[in-house]
Amino acid sequence: MATSTTQPRAGRRLPDSPRPPRRVGFSQTLGRWDVKVSPYLYISPFFLLFALTGLFPLAYTAYVSVYDWHLLGGQGEFVGFENFAFVFQEPNFWKGLRNTFSIFLLSTIPQLMVAVVVAALLDANLRARTFWRMGVLVPYVVAPVAVALIFGKLFADQSGLVNTVLGFAGVEPIKWHGSVLPSHAAIASMVNFRWTGYNTLILLAAMQAVPRDLYEAAVIDGASRLRQFFSITIPQIRPTIIFVVITSTIGGLQIFDEPRMFDQTGQGGPGRQWMTVTMYIYELGFGNQKSFGRAAAVAWVLFLIILAVGMLNFWLTRRIASESTPKQARKKVKR
């Protein structure tokens, strides 16, 4: 298309035939060079940057993980899998893994359920619909650190708002910081607060792409609202649900900000009851130990775990996609 031609109707590309009708001048050579090289030039920033700050660090993590490497001292001796062996026998590593998955499940599953319901509500023919859509998105612009500070106070063991309200209902104060599962629930609620609205809008967009005549046919067949929701809406938006699950998996398994800020010491609690794997990486590499080798070993393990979970998701996607769901309509239905 974009080759220099004096005849715009001559098609997208001049055939590379050996008989150019005109003399090839310098400016034309320059023009051809421009056409050939420019695309690569334009995409190169991304690839260079990704190589430098994404790919190389990840690959190099594997290298660092088999060395005795100190934050200040730099590269030391080759130690093989010693770093891995060290972290695998550390109870804190396994605690971190447990906490990460627990927080992840507590945030993903309820969040998805609420998001689907709110999206269904927003999918109605609302008055002032932009207002409602914007309303659910407000938490997205609050930094996770800020959210964690607010919720850390809400879920304070003593004099926290949640415990006070529970006290009105006659419930004993819950140790939101002191015990394992409550602390996970509190941290998961921060994630849910920030991301439910965002995912709601993604799901809403998918719902709006569902062909409306499906609902009309269902109404004629006498299907109730609830039946329509479970038999039409959910199956139709399944690919989007899986997309949301995959993105929250990649992010959720690396969670750091919220648990780091849940108390002022940032250790994940005195018994490490809410310390996540990424917090453990930070502690190994930049905390007291300053052991880059061990931090890299854990990072590499977490990378493999995320890869495995991601592949599991991908496999599920393929299976479900080929099984039932018709291809999603591409055009957004305007109403």
Binding site: L137, P144, L161, D213, Q254, Q264, F292
Partner: protein, 302 residues
């Protein structure tokens, strides 16, 4: 075949038939939802705003009141400005953090928009060897948890002498895979080949074509992408926390410092939270519409 529309029924069968048709219309057509829907949505919105309001309540109170009662009062008290002043005067470089956050967020969003549009223009409209494979690669990288490369990234930054400098935070965010993919998607449909050809016929170079044709055509998507990049940069904590340290913080890092040194005074911490959130709330009021549209557009394509 779909049922006849309500106006059509009104024309052919009269007003009362139209009213009946309107009432019995199925889910998702003309019918307005009942009050239950609005009630539930109101609850959802209160849930998304209440924590922020609570933060403001605490920020406008004082430490001793908060210690006695977790709900100091339902209406804001008068101490917010005083607390905010204390935060700004505290030894955590809050002013510097604010400036730093602005610098980082503005630089990254401008750069993300520019480089992503450039790459998106190439992927969407130019023909070159390996295009499809490279685009697939870009999409695949959105799923790579690059945060896990922090140890070597830190080593790289320390080799470059960038530890504690803003450039260490800016550079990794200069262009994103999401941005490239986003702009490719948009320009594919929004930029007609005829326009590019016309520019080329007029003798414009490739870069001139990009600057005068593709970039203006990309404006709506570019604005959204810039907003996402801005919010993402403003709220980013993990990497700035590691590489910047306490002397040259961004806002989230400053909030961490505030929490570490003033954890006894909740009103002060909350004043910091409110102060750091206000700029994005203002942005949200101005451009929240674009954010909503952006998320919804991205979802349908993704």
């Amino acid at each position: 075949m779909s049922a006849p529309s309500v106006p059509y029924i009104r024309q052919t069968a009269g007003a009362s038939a139209a009213r009946f048709a309107k009432r019995t219309r199925g889910y998702g057509s003309e019918r307005r939802p009942g009050w239950v829907t609005y009630l539930l949505l109101t609850v959802a919105i209160i849930g998304s705003i209440l924590p922020l309001y609570y933060a403001f309540l605490l920020a406008s109170s004082d430490a001793s009141t908060i210690a006695q009662n977790p709900i100091p009062s339902l209406i804001p008290q008068g101490n917010f400005l005083e607390n905010a002043g204390k935060v700004l005067a505290a030894d955590i470089n809050f002013w510097k953090a604010l400036t730093n956050s602005l610098i980082v967020a503005i630089t990254t969003s401008v750069s993300v928009v520019l480089f992503s549009t450039l790459a998106g223009f190439a992927f969407a409209k130019l023909r070159f060897r390996g295009r499809n494979g490279l685009l697939l690669f870009v999409i695949a990288t959105t799923a790579v948890p690059t945060q896990l490369g922090i140890v070597p990234l830190f080593i790289v930054m320390s080799e470059l002498g960038w530890i504690g400098k803003l450039v260490a935070v800016i550079v990794p965010g200069l262009v994103t895979a999401f941005g490239v993919f986003w702009m490719t998607q948009y320009l594919e449909s929004a930029l007609p080949y005829e326009l590019i050809e016309a520019a080329r016929v007029d003798g414009a170079s490739m870069i001139r074509t990009f600057w005068s044709i593709a970039l203006p055509a990309a404006r709506p998507a570019a604005v959204m992408l810039g907003l996402f990049a801005f919010v993402g940069s403003w709220t980013n904590f993990f990497w700035p926390f590691i590489v910047l340290g306490s002397t040259n913080p961004t806002l989230p890092v400053a909030l961490q410092l505030l929490q570490a040194s003033y954890f006894k005074d909740m009103s002060l911490i909350m004043a910091g939270v409110v102060l750091s959130t206000i700029p994005l709330l203002v942005l949200f009021v101005v451009a929240g519409r674009q954010l909503v549209a952006g998320i919804m557009a991205g979802a349908v394509k993704g």
